[in-house]
Symmetry: D3
């Protein structure tokens, strides 16, 4: 191949007026009727960070292809000019377009690049979570219970977000959040076990680790993948009618019953951690933490969730000025213009 | 029996200065040391509505008996004078006293009179509840599930209060409350089923009845009898760590699993009713009602609970004036001086 | 009439692309200037459930008629094609159009079909309400007072909604809600009167019925018809400055003064019911219920209002999936996909 | 009178161990039985700021008089020693005692000194209030309406507190508060009328003054004198069932109807001020202020009430240290130890 | 000047369809591409109360001038026709247009007319504020401290709004609000000092005046001018990270340290006023008022802020009907249709 | 010393009826008058966990010594019998008593044993805190600032509680809490710095450590020792009027100004951490956390505080049953009866 490829770029990296070659997903295609009574299509091409409109007029070059060959959900290689229309927003003026082919992988095409996902590899996170369980839970039946539940839902957990919209709202988010909570929870359990030697029995680290790993296990049945590959997870019927606290505890209870050898008092404490980890009644928590382990879990969970929201808000905010736009979940403008 | 018995009265019916013969429970007996260095006993005799102190001095007539024969929890037949000490409160000056004997039943002695309890007979209420289930739940497996659960916990339910302190806080209260909620819920289901004919599927009366009967079934494991026969019910460990919503749904879920023939959608709606019947998150409800049946159950439950608190407050308030003392749970003074 | 009429349909029943003949109201007509400097009209035709745009261009067939003959608020018989424009929404391409004529009634034209209204007949509901008053209120002066107030405001009440926006927000809603509350309140009064026989004086059913009938009588002066025949009711000046609690009690108080024979204690209890029926201070209730009758009225009222909102949300939700859109007043997604 | 009287003092000015001669009210007298089976009386003598116990033993000098001659509510001249018992609190050891006689007025006896009351003379305050009405309300019918209402309730208003317990909770308090609110409201009305010249119609000072004078007129029927001369005012039945907002507006509305010449718009604004002056729904306000005059009244009212609570708390706090005890209504410790 | 000028008008005074000559600011100018692939500009011309669009097409008379000579932020003299497009809103059809020239001042052109600002002259208000300080603060070092701070920030204060968005949100607003609070606070201090003569030490009027003048001095560093001359003030980094309470107290504390002669107790009270003037914790107040002076300042501040919001809402509301649109900050519809 | 000492015990370890020899503090001594008109003293002797009454009657053996030699605040060696009076509570019947002497140290007397204090040595904690500062804060000027502030207040900090009543409410508590928060904060900063590598600039660990060490530095001026050696710390005047957030930031700001070399942006972030660490406005936090470091500090602080309350409640609860008494600050019963 003597002639060099035109360098590939990303749709979301183009500046207004700039021409580029990029891969894009056809996310929407709607047929309409123009004032001259001729049909047209309004197509939306997108990558992870930008969506741009391409108006396909009846007398333009791509009308027939659009009408007969293009399907929403397909990927395309496009050469075009990006513009920003003052009323209609982001537009792309398509000059060349074809479906993505296998060889495009060589130029960096990866369908997974088109959806927000954890920066960490799900398989690796899952392996790490199994390691945590095996290495950090001393009580054998409790360790087995925890492993069983993770193994049983492993496939789903790999693509699950931590929540539908609030924190880690992308595939892999469940694992990323859970790993972090387990890690922090384990450290805090060590710290406070040593810090309060007069507690009897001493603070139970196993309960904290198992509680951290399983506190959101109910998400596996509370949420299900959205209708399309790019759609966010949605609540199941049981998810809305009962909520992830009840559903998660069910999974634990059923697995413990099958296993039959879990210390009943350990199980009870674990269930209490699941039931009380939201802490605040106004957040839907039906119980307040009544043991120190539940307190630790609540803080490890809440801090990790908020920290992800902070980081996402700070790194994605597009505007000028030293503060971000008001984050609707956090209810505040974060300070992004700091120098140190 | 030639000589007429002195007419029996009740401790709580005596006016200050009045002499009477009555049965009483020895509720407390504490040994002390007087200023003259002689021992004494301070005893508390009580019936359902009043507790009065009897100071047994070392040189008085009953010291030895009190020291060696009287036990807290025993019943006595007493003749004495009731007074109200301005600092030490209700007193009884005991003139004659002996343990209750079998023959006292003839004069009306009944140990059950000494604890607050439902004015309705538990056996009869239980029978009525079974009737409601059998007559009002059309779906056979759902009916069976509901019956199974009531039958399984029947013994405990007969002596259970509806709540530890707030409404129907006395043995039999659970049954009295549940019956009333089931009755009202059934009527409201009929009314609104007819009132909203466009609902599809129509409002499900079976779900309302089963939900009403089982909404507080978790109390059977949330509460346990107090240490003494006169002590109020107390939360179990699971009761505090998990709460009656989780515990009640467990009972339902386990029974349905055993039974295996309950329509899963019916079961799901029933579980939702249990989980959402408290309605307000700030009352510890983890879910809002999402189906009309849950709304009906919430109102039937809440109205019945409040109505019992109103009635108890209005009928027990001892003070003068047209309004009751401020009820600490209701947070208001009720109007008791009305003429119509 | 040899040739069969084309079957009439409803605008809101047409599918995109479908042609039909239907009656419609001209709800809006705005003159504009196109890019070619020629005038046009943008008209909105609607029936109860749908509004569709018809662009009347200067060189189209209906421009002159639209300009000189069509008036907002008039009804038309239209044949046309319904389409959904991806940006401009629902459109109708009008092929034939004329004003509605008297004979159209034969084909089912009824102007009342174009506004949301109670599914029940106002005259019938009013008659039923009078029956309730006459049959259920035993105390004669109280019965007369209640009748007088309903009779006095009968004309307005027939077209009044229960509330401007929240529940039963359509003509006839006041009657539909009031009838239901009176019916439920009466049943509950019977139930609790029997259930709490120790109340003295016993629970007063007359007060509950009269309170239910009159609890929202203030709406008759709080709300007034909107500017157009299809506009919702709007608050009057007194409605906003004083609110329906004060206004309703005024009506009662004035009527009782005229009548002069109402038992003052009954009147006082009735006024208390009006004043306290909202229950929660945060909903604007200036008093908490202090008598059992007020408690019953509050629950009968609140349940009936919420039930109507549930039913309306469940039967009108257009979207896919097992749950409705989030209802803004109820603040939740209802479960509409249930099978039983 | 050759022999000098022993200097009179006040019970509440005596230091522990000090002997003095003072007037006191017999506020309580309870008969009891001592350990030696002899009767005794426990009497409570009090003046405005202190209550002290006198134990009248059967073998002491005053037993017969106490038994046969002393009545609760009578005033006495007493010579005795004041002590503070570490367990039983303030005590007075009575050496001489007799009923108060007419000539004691010469030594300063005044029964009114024994109850908390406004430092200002009610007659004078009432006259001043009438002056305010006559001088400050320009609109003649509105002025007449306001005068009529004050005149009609003048006798009661002179002894009414502003509230039962919260602010100005003593006879004369209603007048003191009302005068202050009217004065402040008038000034603020002037200030803001000038400050916002673009308001049309301009801010209505008459409405503010009339609203200030009448905002709490409902207290005249909401509260009634307590059972004894020293008991605080208590809510009437209507006071609790309806509240002073409704009751006050009734008085205004009825008087306006009689008078017949009040501008209906003025009357409506005045009613709105009464109805909305509490401002916050959580304080029981059924309406928010919707006109500037209502805003002014709310602030004049609230500031005056809080200022009285501040002043009372700061001037009555008995303890050491730079801050007062926590005031239960204000919910804070005020700074009383300031130097400037 | 023989030929009469066409009478100048204001853009915001034109009725739809009316032609007029007016001055306007070019507030926005965006280049776009029409369907015919020719460029166009969409310009926004505005005065204080209205913004109207002018579409400059490639083949129209002003395209070249717009492309090469017009800058956002410049002022123009325009003759044109105002129309209201049913979809695109306010439009102006420009017939003649040129940049504003010096001589236009003779016809009334004043750039300051194009931004909302206080109706009072900042210089005059500043002078008045200095007068208040000099005349009303008796304590010399306190007076000097207050003067120093105002003088030090005088330039900024003249253009500062009282708040970014809520009350007096326009240049000069800070001064207008501060003057009013100082005036009202001074009057209230006099009134309550006389009203509560038993306070010791008496209510300190100097503290109220100094507190009123300086309560919002922190705004001088909390806010900074927006990016453009017409943009509202924006929070500084310190403004968001620390807030105006901390920043204002810093200014006071630093100035007092420099001055060295301020009575420390006076300074402490003044600081307390700054720190507590928001009163409600939920409004961000870290302290409750603990001295009467702080209470007065809170009410003077809050009433003045709300009154400005009332007046602005009442005088700007454009709609029909007796009530304003719902004010989003006040959360209510105000009554503007009153007759008296 | 041939004869063995009677074994020393602790007052709080004696069972009712048991005789023992122990050291005790005379915490209270009140003179009273008995019914026989003879004086008596009521003394309270206490150690850390119990206070017991000794009634010293005029004709008893210790009256003269008590009257003339015993002073509140002195320590005594006592032999006596401990009893629990059913009305008057814990009593000690003193048989032998003398003032503590120097040689009693040999038997274990240590005045510090009589007040609650941290289980850790203040000197050691202070040294550890200095180590943390020196080892963990990389930025030299920030490290110096932090060291300076700790050194400057070192003497006070050693005896300061973390709070007056809520958490770590005993001498040394400030250090114990601060050390723990710094340790946890440092670990969390490491964790999240690595976890969110896309933050730019990266999460600043120095700011977290310095913020943790100094977040409550304001307590050093907010609280002062109570009046007696055993009395808890009390708020200073500035403490109540301004609060520890303002006071702590003042200390930091003043020290930074002296030092002059602290990076202004670092200082600003540190100040923000102090100002926002309470997080919730309803807890008195004037600012929400706007940077990730502030979020970490809030959680490290809140968890550590709650954990201490949990541990104290769990280890001090005296009652029977599996749950503690309701902790008034935590608002719940904790589970103490767990087995694992």
């Amino acid at each position: 191949m003597s002639k060099p490829h035109p360098a590939m770029t990303r749709l979301s990296d183009l500046k207004p007026g700039e021409r580029g070659t990029f891969f894009a997903l056809l996310a929407d295609r709607v047929r309409g009727l123009a004032q001259n009574n001729k049909p047209y299509f309004k197509c939306a091409f997108k990558d992870l960070r930008r969506s741009a409109t391409y108006m396909v007029w009846a007398d333009g070059p791509h009308f027939t292809a659009c009408d007969t060959e293009w399907q929403v959900g397909q990927f395309f290689k496009i050469r075009g000019v990006y513009t920003e229309h003052e009323r209609y927003g982001a537009q792309v003026d398509v000059e060349q377009i074809r479906h993505v082919q296998d060889r495009d992988a060589a130029e960096g095409f990866n369908p997974a690049d088109f959806v927000e996902r954890s920066r960490l590899d799900p398989e690796q996170m899952l392996a790490e979570l199994r390691n945590v369980i095996d290495a950090e839970i001393a009580d054998l039946p409790l360790r087995k219970l925890t492993r069983t539940l993770i193994d049983r839902h492993a496939e789903g957990l790999k693509v699950l977000p931590a929540t539908q919209r609030n924190f880690y709202p992308f595939p892999g988010g469940w694992l990323e959040h859970t790993l972090s909570v387990a890690h922090t929870g384990g450290w805090l359990a060590n710290w406070y076990r040593e810090r309060h030697p007069d507690l009897s029995p001493p603070l139970n680290r196993d309960v904290v680790i198992a509680g951290a790993v399983l506190h959101d296990i109910g998400r596996a049945v509370e949420l299900e993948p959205g209708p399309g590959p790019l759609d966010p997870a949605e609540p199941t019927v049981d998810g809305r009618l009962l909520g992830h606290l009840f559903l998660g505890r069910d999974l634990i209870r059923d697995a413990a019953r099958e296993q039959a050898d879990v210390n009943p008092e350990l199980l009870r404490l674990l269930e209490h951690l699941v039931v009380s980890h939201l802490n605040h009644p106004e957040w839907g928590s039906p119980r307040l933490p009544l043991i120190p382990e539940a307190l630790i879990l609540h803080h490890a969970d809440d801090l990790d969730a908020k920290m992800e929201m902070f980081a996402r808000c700070l790194t994605r905010d597009p505007g000028p000025g030293p503060f971000t736009e008001r984050d609707p979940v956090l209810g505040r403008h974060l300070y992004k213009g700091r120098e140190v």
